[in-house]
Amino acid sequence: MIKVEGLTKRYARKVAVDNISFEVEKGQIVGFLGPNGAGKTTTMRVLTCFLPPTSGSATVAGFDVLENPMEVKKRIGYLPETPPVYPEMEVHEYLEFVGRIKGVPKGDLLRRVAEVSEKCAVADVSKTLIGKLSKGYKQRVGLAQAIIHNPDVLILDEPTAGLDPHQIIETRDLIKGLAGEHTIILSTHILPEVEQTCERVIIIARGKLVATDTVENLTSRLRGAETVSVEVMPANGDLDAGLVRERLERVTGVSRVMPKEHRDGKLHFIVESQEGQHVRPGLARAVIDAGWNLNELHAVGLSLEEIFLQLTASSDPHKPEPVEAAVAGENQ
């Protein structure tokens, strides 16, 4: 449905997107993952014909973004990072307006507006001025706007940014509900979001494609080694940190134990497992069997930064690229 080949976008001074290629199948929901400034927005803007590529090509449903922009635009629903709403319009007025400019036939217009209002849960505010709506509602109006002409492809730029946790869950459910009918690309810099909503992930950093894989493959690849935080409390009296450490190291599958700060007699360790080993049950048993109290035991998730470091480091072992330097090129 979407095919990007050797896409490069260069601004006056910097390269925002550097030779990216990927494909998205029909009906898939794909997460576009990267830190701020990685080139996510730029790639999406090229796909929506907002920006022309410097070199390379992008096709949507077989139409090239440079040669046939009109056909591409008809088939794409786009929600930019800030919902493109007019605060002085009422919700239904706005949706009717967007429907018209997107080419929804006149006879279907009111029906479509009612349908998408229902789907995006904005029907109850249809007579309210958009400027008076909360951020969450505005986002949903933005989403309703993107699907009003029932496009083949939906492009959503950070659809959950700036929402409160409750609204984030609602928006994610809404997006999941849209999958199947539409091919969806959504960008985010939050890893769990991709895990929860997407089938495939495309990871970019500093304008370059770092990885593209299914969510399961990627997480198992990254989480092959488990990192666990353990906090041990002595049952009575004092406890020697070295002793605990030694005991934890003996658990099968543990590769490394790093002591952290010890407070109020509680001993805190970070334990790393070997590839493909689940060490949490073993750790728990070891602590209990030794007669200590297990205060806390939880897996430490990899932050996005660590994932990037891992991925970029594995592709280029000599020069692990610092992710901090990747803040460039977005919001141009």
Binding site: T48, K74, M89, I101, K102
Partner: protein, 254 residues
């Protein structure tokens, strides 16, 4: 069709914000005042000359309508930047321009829609002055044809300045900047013909030809001169053409 959709949305924005009402109220006040002054002057001169036994040509068209038209044309210079300043600047600031540009619309449809909406607001503003003209018809017998020509001239003049204002609005994200720059350009285009008052060189003639108000003179007299119509229509074309280029360059630069 799309042009009408864009224009309708633009009018909704105008009339939901204070801009339309502010512009119209200001116009009603100033144009009404000018009309009052012109009528009072006309009546007084008529009275004075009849008391002195002289005959005074009681020509409403010459002594009331013509000065009122030239005054309105100058008021337009001040109000037009206020009408055009938000057209594109606001969309660029809030990001809604992304919606328009990624919709299956041609640039020309977007531009024409916005310009048409601005022209309609300007026309409804002029509509207020029709009330004053109606008063003249109630108490006198002015010739209606020069009035029509005058209004046509005002619309052409307005259309020309609105197209320039629209162009300026595409150049910035800031409405105020667009407004001030638009006002500066309008002012410049007005004072250009002052050059010809003390110079008779070819340069001075060319410069004064470019003055937008100079071409309104014939219309205010009620004379429909093709060369002035051509002038305004070409300014409209140039303004809209520049707007189209500027909108296109947005994508290449951004």
């Amino acid at each position: 069709m799309n042009t009408i959709t864009i224009a309708r949305r633009e009018l909704i924005s105008y009339f939901r914000s204070p801009i339309a009402y502010g512009v119209m109220a200001f116009f009603a006040l100033i144009a009404g005042y000018f009309f009052y002054v012109a009528v009072v002057y006309f009546v007084r001169r008529g009275l004075e000359s009849s008391m002195m036994g002289q005959s005074f040509p009681m020509d409403l068209n010459e002594f009331v309508i013509r000065p009122v038209f030239s005054n309105i044309s100058v008021i337009g210079l001040f109000l037009i930047p206020m009408i055009t300043m938000r057209l594109f600047a606001e969309e660029k600031r809030t990001g809604t321009i992304e919606l328009l540009v990624t919709s299956p619309l041609r640039d020309l449809e977007i531009i024409l829609g916005k310009w048409t909406a601005a022209l309609l607001l300007y026309a409804s503003m002029l509509g207020i002055s029709v009330l004053s003209m109606a008063l003249l018809f109630a108490y006198g017998k002015p010739d209606w044809r020069p009035i029509l020509v005058g209004y046509l001239g005002l619309l052409l003049l307005g259309g020309a300045l609105l197209s320039i204002g629209t162009f300026i609005s595409t150049c910035t994200k800031n409405q105020i900047v667009a407004g001030v720059a638009g006002f500066a350009v309008c002012l410049l285009l007005w004072v250009l013909d002052w050059a010809s008052s003390f110079e008779t060189s070819v340069t001075a003639k060319v410069v004064s030809y470019l003055s937008v108000l100079q071409h309104f003179d014939s219309f205010s007299k009620g004379v429909l001169d093709l060369k002035d119509v051509v002038f305004y229509v070409s300014v409209i074309f140039v303004g809209l053409f520049l707007t189209a280029r500027s909108l296109e360059s947005l994508r290449w630069r951004s």
